[in-house]
């Protein structure tokens, strides 16, 4: 999202200008998406987009609806209302075309602990129809890039938490996606491992032009130049560049800005679905 404005409390930004330009088709476009678990509304009329080659942080507390949103984007859940597109491919109508452009790192570990590092990568490659020879080449490349080449034959259960996360990121990149989703990818890691992973993902944006949606509840993972979507109790409270959101809320930092946004939303009763 190349935000030029920072709407507050669920207002939708005028982004038709960007979408009308075919050269800037959003990497991810979420239009009017709502989702309920029975009577409980987990997401309410979500609208935002992620631009190619950008880093967008999805900030929300536990229970905000981040994982539900990720499950919808990855088609683990069916879309009940609204529309989600990845580089213009509707996830409901053309899931194959959309998912092949998408790499995902889920919040829980999804590696097979009994298989080796390379075997996990080869399995993922097979699920994307990448033949064994090509998969081995790519596995070698991504492992070298994330500094795990020397652990290629190790069982995954022998890796540290940080190494597992790096491996999951490597796996998500194996089929060369153009959009990468990471759901709380640094949870449970030490400070250094967190910084390493965040740095690596940011380099993917600048060096490889991958669009990134980074879900987090940690304010210190966000920098002023990032695009930001603030998700709270299933609603988007604000989206735009971090610096702009901070300025619009009259705050000094994102932490205070987030507090003001959530308090304002509670005051105006917009959070009672």
């Amino acid at each position: 999202m190349t935000a030029t404005d920072a709407p507050i409390a669920g207002q939708t930004p005028p982004d038709s200008r960007r979408r009308s330009d075919p050269a800037e088709i959003p990497a991810l476009s979420i239009d009017g998406v709502s989702h309920s678990y029975g009577a409980r509304r987990a997401l309410i009329d979500i609208d935002f987009s992620v631009a190619p080659a950008s880093f967008t942080a999805l900030l929300g507390l536990n229970g905000a609806g981040k994982s539900t949103l990720f499950s919808l984007v990855t088609r683990l859940f069916g879309i009940q209302a609204g529309r989600i597109s990845i580089f213009g491919h509707d996830i409901g109508l053309a899931p194959g075309e959309a998912l092949r452009l998408l790499g995902v790192v889920f919040q829980p570990r999804t590696l097979d602990l009994d298989l080796s590092v390379t075997q996990n990568l080869l399995y993922h490659a097979a699920l994307h129809g990448i033949d064994r020879r090509e998969a081995r080449l790519r596995a070698g490349e991504v492992l070298a890039r994330i500094g795990l080449a020397d652990r290629a034959g190790s069982k995954v259960r022998d890796l540290s938490g940080g190494q597992m996360r790096r491996l999951e990121i490597a796996r998500a990149l194996l089929h060369r996606p153009r959009l990468l989703l990471l759901d709380e990818a640094t949870v449970g890691l030490d400070v250094k491992a967190r910084a390493d992973i965040l740095g690596h993902v940011r380099r993917l944006v600048t060096e490889q032009g991958i669009g990134v949606l980074w879900a987090t509840h940690l304010f210190d993972e966000i920098v002023p130049s990032d695009d930001l979507v603030v998700l709270h109790q299933g609603r988007v409270l604000a989206h735009g560049q971090v610096a702009r959101i901070i300025a619009d809320t009259g705050a000094q930092d994102i932490n205070t800005s987030f507090t003001r946004l959530t308090e304002a939303a509670a005051d105006c009763g917009s959070l009672s679905p």
């Binding site: 539900t68 452009l101 399995y123 153009r178």
Partner: protein, 282 residues
């Protein structure tokens, strides 16, 4: 929303990509099986205990008259061998479904479900992989059983293969369908009580149906309606180079029905979406 899309790869998937995916899933299932040696041993020990102990004890109690496909009087061990083969596949099918529930709870299932290939195809590959594993177990059992005088005609080892594939697919699809409805790993114990044991005992695996009919006409009809009975009979006839057409039709029909049900249940717009994210996720 612009209708423009970005296409940097050809639309759809080639046949080679589908085959690569199938190979990958079978390969991964095989690796997991090799890593779980105790699973292989227990899969063999269970039917062998029935063969060596149960059958030896009941040999003198249960008389078996000459019934197709047998052309002469047979030992009780010979009679229950096809039932034990089907039991291996039944347990394997349920084991596969247990691992699917485990994978779903642990998150591994997401790796499979976010593949861009069609979901029905991914689940079919998973089913084929589970069936392939069950074939290894069955032939290992048949090898040991041969030393216990279970000696079907040599051609039977070949003619039984298609029957094993079909019955393995049916029982695997049933397991997959059941796993789609289980929300917690702890609930799987119920499957043992409500699916495996009733299916096994209310079938022709341990006693011929005419014997059941003599004892309880009601149970006889239950056995007739039990798809596991037909899996057993399909295997029994195929092991002796013969075809039981009714069993073939029932097993084939049930395979299709269970598979359609499983694909339907794993469809994101119907199944998983009602449950919400796994515990701890937001």
């Amino acid at each position: 929303m612009s209708s423009t899309v970005i296409k940097d790869q050809p639309a759809g998937f080639s046949l080679a990509q589908y085959v690569t995916c199938l190979n990958g899933i079978v390969w991964r299932e095989g690796l997991r099986f090799l890593h779980q040696r105790e699973r292989f041993v227990s899969a063999l020990v269970r039917p062998l205990v029935w063969l060596f102990i149960f059958a030896a004890g009941f040999r003198q109690v249960l008389g078996i008259s000459i019934i197709p496909p047998y052309e002469t009087y047979i030992l009780y061990e010979v009679y229950i061998a096809p039932g034990l083969i089907a039991m291996i596949q039944l347990f394997n099918g349920m084991q596969s479904s247990l691992s699917m529930v485990y994978d779903r709870e642990m998150g591994n299932m997401r790796t499979l479900l976010v593949s861009p290939l069609p979901r029905w195809y991914l689940l079919s590959c998973k089913l084929l992989a589970g069936t392939a594993v069950s074939l290894l177990q069955v032939y290992a059992f048949l090898l040991i059983a041969w030393f216990w005088d279970i000696e079907p005609p040599p051609i039977g080892y070949l003619t039984v293969l298609p029957a094993l594939v079909l019955s393995g697919l049916m029982l695997g699809a049933l397991g997959m369908l059941i796993s789609s409805g289980i929300t917690q790993l702890e609930n799987f114990a119920g499957v043992m009580n409500f699916v495996i044991f009733p299916m096994f005992f209310a079938s022709s695996a341990l006693y011929p149906l005419w014997r059941v009919q003599e004892g309880s006409p009601m149970l006889y009809y239950v056995c007739l309606l039990n798809p596991f009975t037909h899996a057993v009979e399909l295997i029994r006839f195929a092991l002796y180079g013969q075809m039981n057409w009714i069993s073939l039709a029932v097993v084939g029909g049930c395979t299709a029905a269970f598979m359609i049900g499983a694909v339907f249940a794993y469809d994101p717009s119907r199944g998983l979406s009602r449950r919400g994210p796994a515990g701890g996720e937001t």
